[in-house]
């Protein structure tokens, strides 16, 4: 094999185990140097290819079989329209009468409402940007390590609040920062068939944590007490 052919072999695969190449490498220092350079470049290439993956992509993909199970029937559009009308009416009256004063029910409604959007739009949020948003509430996250994947303003009965989501071992947990000037009744603990939540009364705001994994409600409150700092 000529030197050109050997170099071509290395350019095709820097880790080629071709016997002729291995033999030549043992004898030719220049060729070894060339192989070394290509292997370094291969390392750089492998690193560069590892672009960040959207944080909730796996969870989003795992929903696909569940969504596929919902079969469509010719009556479906009609049934959907009727359901939407009924739910809207019930929801409106329910919202007016039973949910309006309860911070936990509001938080759960927000979590359900944003769930699908969050799965497809979750992105790693730089801490500086989250802190810019938290600054509106006189708050700051210090030395926060957990990955924040969602940070949007929302309203709790007309009061501007912040909706955060952090990646956890089992999916994600939601954290709301709600100024204390709402008329909502605080609920220290709340739960439904999917989620559990609790409210932390902090200096300027109520901080609500919601998750479908009880372990998140064990670990996040302590972290928030330590790292979510409010200025007086």
């Amino acid at each position: 094999m000529t030197n050109t052919e050997l170099r071509r072999l290395l350019l095709t695969d820097p880790y080629s185990q071709h016997p002729a190449l291995q033999q030549a490498l043992a004898q030719d220092a220049d060729l070894r140097q060339f192989a070394h350079q290509l292997q370094q470049q291969q390392h750089a290439l492998e690193d560069a290819l590892q672009i960040p993956v959207p944080p909730m992509l796996a969870e989003q993909l795992l929903q696909i079989p569940k969504l596929q199970k919902r079969r469509w029937h010719w009556l479906t559009p009609l049934a959907l329209a009727a359901s939407v009308a009924i739910v809207s009416l019930l929801g409106f009256f329910g919202y007016q009468h039973s949910y309006a004063n309860d911070i936990g029910s509001h938080a759960l409604a927000h979590v359900y409402h944003e769930h699908d959007y969050l799965l497809s739009h979750a992105r790693a949020q730089p801490l500086e940007e989250v802190n810019l948003k938290l600054a509106d509430f006189g708050a700051n996250l210090q030395e926060w390590q957990d990955e924040i994947i969602y940070a949007r303003y929302c309203t709790f009965q007309g009061v501007r609040s912040l909706h955060l989501a952090v990646k956890t071992a089992s999916g994600y947990a939601t954290i709301f920062v709600i100024p204390k000037d709402t008329d909502l009744k605080t609920t220290p603990h709340f739960t439904d068939q999917h989620y559990q939540g609790l409210t932390l009364a902090m200096l300027n705001a109520n901080v609500v944590v919601v998750s479908d994994n009880p372990a998140d409600l064990q670990q996040l409150p302590a972290k928030l007490h330590r790292k979510l700092v409010f200025s007086a």
Partner: protein, 213 residues
């Protein structure tokens, strides 16, 4: 980093040609019968839901990254991965060789990417979608800079050279396996790998950004 500019991506002729003869239900590609590349992540005795879950857990990140390097756009890559796994779920029972799962998924994703050009559903302009390349989280600023430089040159490679290189460096596929996946002659694959690496090496050397002497 400054703005990056790429040449508009070329439609991949290999994938477009193969797509026309593929059925829509994504049957098991014949060539993957010989592919013993990947370790099996499931057994055929697992339930369909379990097999699907294992495929997602093991391959979603590589599939996303591969899709990203095909289209160079984070949003489109996410859509491609979703379409890929939707089709994978629908035709999962046709995947009879657990070792071929990764190649099977890549074949589906390539087909979905080709359909994107056929339907022209996404009004995608390479020149305006560069921001996603800057999206990275590395531990050191130097490493981050190095990655950006390599990404910029990799993205500028013609697609016919970039794709086999990505399959080799990201997917860990051999030349024979890449030839099967891309439905090309193995000599053609080797030539493209050789040229890709030569072009990449030349562009990195010219820009003076990496020297390993």
């Amino acid at each position: 980093m400054g703005s990056l500019h790429f040449l508009p991506g070329r439609a991949n002729k290999a994938s477009l040609n193969t797509t026309n003869v593929q059925s829509k239900t994504a049957p098991m590609p014949e060539h993957t019968n010989h592919n013993q590349h990947s370790a099996a992540v499931f057994t055929l005795g697992d339930s369909k839901a379990k097999r699907y879950e294992l495929l997602v857990k093991h391959y979603h990140a590589d599939l996303y990254r591969y899709g990203y390097w095909l289209c160079k756009d984070a949003e489109i890559a996410q859509d491609l991965v979703q379409e890929t796994f939707l089709r994978a779920w629908k035709s999962l029972d046709s995947l009879l060789d657990p070792h071929a799962a990764k190649a099977w998924l890549i074949t589906i994703l390539r087909r979905e990417n080709a359909r994107r050009f056929e339907r022209k559903q996404f009004a995608f302009d390479d020149d305006t979608e560069q921001d996603s390349l800057a999206d990275t989280q590395q531990s050191s600023a130097e490493q981050q800079y190095d990655n950006q430089v390599v990404r910029k040159h990799l993205a500028a490679l013609p697609e016919e050279y970039r794709e086999p290189l990505v399959l080799q460096a990201l997917g860990g596929f051999s030349s024979d396996e890449i030839a099967s996946l891309l439905q090309l002659n193995v000599n053609t694959v080797n030539t493209r790998l050789f040229r890709a690496r030569k072009l990449l090496r030349a562009s990195l050397d010219v820009s003076g950004e990496r020297h390993h002497d």
